[in-house]
């Protein structure tokens, strides 16, 4: 289990590149976010996605595209897409992100996790023609549901910890994990011990689910 390197996290949040990227839009999105969440210091990615979800903000979408589209192209090429089709898939996935934005819930998935899932679902749909079995969705939350900012931020941080852990693995281990999540390994070839510390983020998500269950129960009993 790896521990959080606080210095590194703090440095990352204040790098000048991140700061200069889009002060205006981030400020705008922050204003939007403040309306519903009080002053939550969310990451840029989360603020973009919330602006897309709640305001259909194309400028925020452009920033999200600039960040994720080149990575998605790398991702689908690694996953075996012919170079000629890679950009069609990237286009398809990014448009799905725009159209399915109403399903984004920062309390349960950080932006990269959510986009990963949209990308996998699109690729599976294309390959298999029929979707794979999906779990029952959690029941829609109350209209006046106020996102738990602490939960959103904790999830962002835990996702950052996972990313750093991945970057610190030795190349062979990292390659195996990439293959596993790109869908290139069968279940019997995926080692139980992946080398990624999933325990903390899992407990954090579990707490969020428990809270949601309680809210739903309260709603039913009201």
């Amino acid at each position: 289990m790896l521990s959080v390197n606080d210095d590194r996290l703090a440095k990352e949040q204040t790098t000048p590149e991140a700061g200069l990227l889009s002060m205006q839009t981030v400020e705008k999105a922050r204003l939007v976010a403040t309306k519903s969440t009080k002053s939550a210091p969310y990451s840029e990615q989360t603020l973009w996605m919330l602006a897309i979800r709640d305001n259909r903000d194309k400028r925020a979408f452009g920033l999200l595209f600039d960040h994720f589209a080149p990575r998605l192209k790398g991702f689908v090429i690694r996953a075996g897409a012919p170079a000629g089709q890679a950009e069609d898939i990237v286009q398809d996935v990014m448009l799905s992100v725009w159209r399915k934005a109403h399903l984004f819930d920062p309390e349960r998935a950080q932006v990269s996790s959510w986009i990963y899932q949209v990308a996998r679902n699109r690729q599976i749909d294309i390959i298999r023609k029929e979707g794979r079995p999906m779990p029952e969705a959690l029941k829609a939350e109350a209209e006046d549901h106020e996102p738990d900012a602490g939960q959103v931020i904790a999830l962002e941080q835990e996702t950052g910890v996972l990313r750093e852990a991945l970057e610190r693995l030795n190349p062979d281990q990292r390659d195996m994990i990439e293959k596993a999540y790109l869908g290139e390994l069968s279940h019997s070839d995926i080692a139980e011990a992946t080398g990624l510390p999933l325990g903390t983020i899992k407990s954090r998500i579990r707490l969020g689910l428990e809270r949601l269950r309680h809210e739903l129960k309260d709603l039913r009993e009201r």
Partner: protein
């Protein structure tokens, strides 16, 4: 939502489900179990976060000059998006994913021998998934299987040499295990069982007849 589930989906299966590489019959068991188990729902989301970390750290590939403008230009298009398939609701002991596999109708049971009935819900090159209905106190015909077998309890409980399995529990049996799951007394047991290879029953059906019985 059962609080006492003690046999869960292992990480390797969950990672494979999240990545889309899990054979469909197993994916059905995972989706059904997650519908019953918040512990595994949290684990599924944790594996999606790991997938997100892989995406985030993936080497960037340069895009052609017009990709951005093509995508931005398509944002307002009213295309026929394949509508999100309306979720099939749970019915009785059958969670949504099972009802979806049954296309919304009640299971059509076929006799398997010994009072046990089955209903195939998915059959293909990747294996098969079936519902098993085992009368209280009765055993499932002894069988071994060429590959992995996942058995998820939807009603009642069963026990075999490896332990006891209650509603929501998943038994993971590999190719070597020859087991005789026996339903607990008191209530008929209904399970969702999936294999990635044809089942071989030892006593009830000669192997040569198996194709006819689709088991």
């Amino acid at each position: 939502m059962s609080e006492q589930i003690s046999h869960h989906i292992p990480d390797a299966l969950m990672a494979s489900y999240v990545a889309g590489s899990l054979p469909k019959p197993f994916a059905l068991v995972v989706a059904t179990h997650v519908s019953m188990c918040d512990e595994c729902r949290a684990n599924l989301l944790a594996h999606e976060a790991a997938g997100g970390a892989v995406l985030e750290t993936m080497g960037e590939e340069p895009l052609s000059g017009d990709l951005r403008s093509r995508v931005m230009g398509a944002l307002d298009e009213q295309i026929d998006v394949t509508p999100d398939v309306a979720e099939t609701p749970r019915k009785g002991v059958y969670p949504g994913p099972v009802m979806a596999a049954l296309k919304g109708s009640d299971p059509k049971w076929k006799k398997l021998g010994g009072g046990v009935r089955q209903c195939i819900v998915d059959m293909g090159l990747e294996g098969s998934a079936r519902l098993l209905h085992i009368p209280a106190g009765r055993p499932v015909p002894e069988h071994s299987h060429g590959g992995l077998e996942l058995t998820l309890v939807l009603q009642g409980a069963f026990s075999d040499a490896t332990g006891r399995f209650d509603v929501g529990d998943v038994e993971i049996a590999d190719a070597d295990l020859e087991h005789v799951p026996t339903a607990d007394e008191g209530q008929d047991c209904i399970c969702l069982a999936a294999t990635d290879a044809p089942l071989r029953f030892r006593s009830f059906v000669p192997r040569i007849l198996q194709p006819l019985f689709a088991i």
